[in-house]
């Protein structure tokens, strides 16, 4: 019997039992739909996250206090760690220590709200330098001016605010020159950022920047920084600079064993790797769940194929009686199983792609995310391959059971 004939015979067999065939592949359809959906959304999420991290800039290097977090519970620790102080900024600023560093800015996060004449709003309040934001994140002051190094040195109570903050507090009237209240202290608004949206970890429009010295002294009452953000002259020098920063800070902190580090250095490349690791781990976890689903689906296929083989015992007997070899019978039933599961795979791919497209539309329209739908070609190929393989693996046993039957016994079966 030719392959083509086997295939046609198998198709006929499936067609004569349409509803049973449909039920059989349900498990496979669901499994493959899940694979495609997962891969597509995983890819979309990765792209989205990497896109945001990309805004950090390859030249940006961030130093954070405390131990490098290896799990979610460690993040709290870094917020309260107090190891980064002014002397560290001074040491890092020295060209002899870190030759390729061109900019350096301590930063603090101030929890709390801002208010103006009874209007209250909760933006992200940072103790930072405006110049660094302009230089590193392309966030420029549109109205008014930026506060400068002198203001920082003098712990001036001045602020530059994002466009959204200005709108929330002042509506259409001019914000520059007005006094806003942060944690019971008056700050004069000297400038407003131009609309810029999300850059790196910050939504510029939703920011309130005050001099980091002022934030330390009057708003938080601490003598350390939450992080030190630096800029390297060239992306090619990032790795070297990370080493220089580490060596410098170890010297300042009297650390000899790197395991005792009370700070850690974050680069864009490092974050990208971390994100990829997390998404990769997530994908592996979800894949194993889906794999179990597919095995269950496969067992479903095997079960139905066995029923089908029993039900069609007389057909098998007849086919053998008129000259079908064991191989013919095996390939007929294997073809049926593989055709069935591959069909389930194709339906699953279509469903999965449709669902993830709907998801991407919802995410862009409703949640305003910059989410691009990607059709995971490799996942589709994988899904099709896996589903066909499931058919092959779980079809072989029923097919062999079918071929083993003696023709006359099979014909006499009732």
């Amino acid at each position: 019997m030719t392959i083509q004939d086997s295939f046609k015979t198998a198709l006929n067999g499936l067609k004569t039992n349409k509803s049973r065939s449909a039920l059989t592949i349900l498990g496979i359809v669901i499994g493959i739909t899940a694979i495609i959906l997962m891969m597509s959304i995983g890819q979309g999420a990765e792209n989205l996250i990497l896109d945001e991290i990309g805004g950090l800039g390859a030249e940006t290097v961030v130093v954070r206090p405390g131990r490098e977090p290896s799990g979610p519970s460690d993040f709290g620790e870094t917020l309260f760690a107090d190891s980064l102080k002014e002397r560290d900024v001074e040491a890092l600023s020295r060209k002899s220590n870190v030759p390729h560093l061109v900019r350096i800015m301590p930063a603090l996060i101030v929890p709390g709200a801002v208010s103006y004449e009874g209007e209250t709003y909760r933006p992200t309040i940072l103790g930072a330098s405006v110049d660094f934001f302009s230089d590193t994140f392309d966030a420029y002051v549109e109205k008014g001016v930026a506060y400068n190094d002198a203001d920082i040195k003098q712990n001036a109570s001045v602020a530059v605010i994002g466009s959204k903050v200005a709108e929330e507090l002042f509506g259409f009237s001019d914000a520059v020159g007005e006094n806003i209240n942060i944690k019971g202290r008056k700050f004069r608004v000297v400038g407003v950022f131009q609309e810029r949206g999300q850059v790196a970890f910050f939504n510029i429009d939703d920011l309130v920047l005050v001099p980091y010295t002022t934030a330390q002294l009057y708003l938080l009452g601490i003598d350390y920084y939450h992080e030190i953000i630096t800029k390297v002259d060239d992306p090619a020098n990032v790795a070297r600079t990370v080493r220089d920063i580490e060596l410098t800070l170890r010297e300042v902190h009297n650390i000899t064993n790197p395991d005792d580090d009370d700070f850690f250095v974050v680069t864009q490349e490092g974050i990208v790797k971390q994100v990829q690791t997390i998404i990769g781990a997530l994908t592996i976890f979800l894949s194993s769940v889906v794999a179990i689903a597919l095995v269950v689906g496969g067992i479903g296929v095997m079960n139905i194929m066995l029923v089908s083989v029993t039900e069609r015992t007389r057909e098998i007997g007849l086919r053998k009686a008129i000259g079908a070899t064991d191989k013919d019978i095996i390939s007929q039933f294997l073809f049926e199983a593989v055709t069935l599961t591959a069909l389930g795979g194709i339906i699953g791919i279509i469903l999965g792609a449709t669902f993830s497209m709907i998801a991407s539309i919802v995410l862009t329209r409703v949640y305003d995310l910059n989410w691009a739908f990607t059709f995971p070609v490799s996942a589709a190929a994988l899904g099709l391959g896996v589903s066909a393989l499931v058919g092959l693996v779980f079809g072989i046993y029923p097919a062999r059971q079918a071929a083993k039957k003696s023709p006359i016994e099979a014909l006499r079966y009732e």
Partner: protein, 242 residues
Amino acid sequence: MEDDVMIEVKNLEKTYYNEDVETPALRGVSFNIKKGEFVAIMGPSGSGKSTLLHVLGFLDRHTKGIYKLDGKSMDDYTKDEIARLRNEKMGFIFQQFNLLPRTTVLDNVMLPLLYSNVSKFDRKKIVLEAIESVGLSHRIYHESSQLSGGEKQRVAIARALVNNPEIIFADEPTGNLDSKSGQAIMEIIEDLNEKKGHTIILITHETYTAEYSQRIIRFLDGVIESDEKVNRRHRAHDGFRK
């Protein structure tokens, strides 16, 4: 031994074992059938006729004795050789038709060709000829379940003929037919025997039908009661009576 002996059976026994029950169906049967012979097998119900035909047609195995086809013992044929024999050399007309359900007449008759090396382009023509020879050209696309008993019988015959086999095993092929269709079938079988020299082994209850053959073997309780030449054979053109 003569050269043209095709089927050689010696002390053939067949016992069915079902759990604790043993049913001896053939209890020591010996005969030879020559190439081109037309043999009728008769005997009361349960005497072992179908059992013998199944063993001869390689559909079942005997439990004792010798069965040689073309001088070669049944045990010496490989599985694939047996499949080929069933496909090309033997045509089987079953007592219970054994058509594929939910399948058209055309596809039912086509079935043996799928397992042979007849080219795809010749298949349909051959099938249509076989269907025409049993007078069912007007039922080609009917499903087998939509046919009457006699029509089913004729589909089964067309299927047995379609590969032009050397031996035809027919288990009561005219049992369900009226005299007119019965005659048509017997004409076909006679033709195959006379013109093409095919060997025919036919089971029947009807003495009249048996007398189309050259020789009648009568069974009783699993043994041969008599094995005689037919002196006055009927011919298809004599007409068919019941």
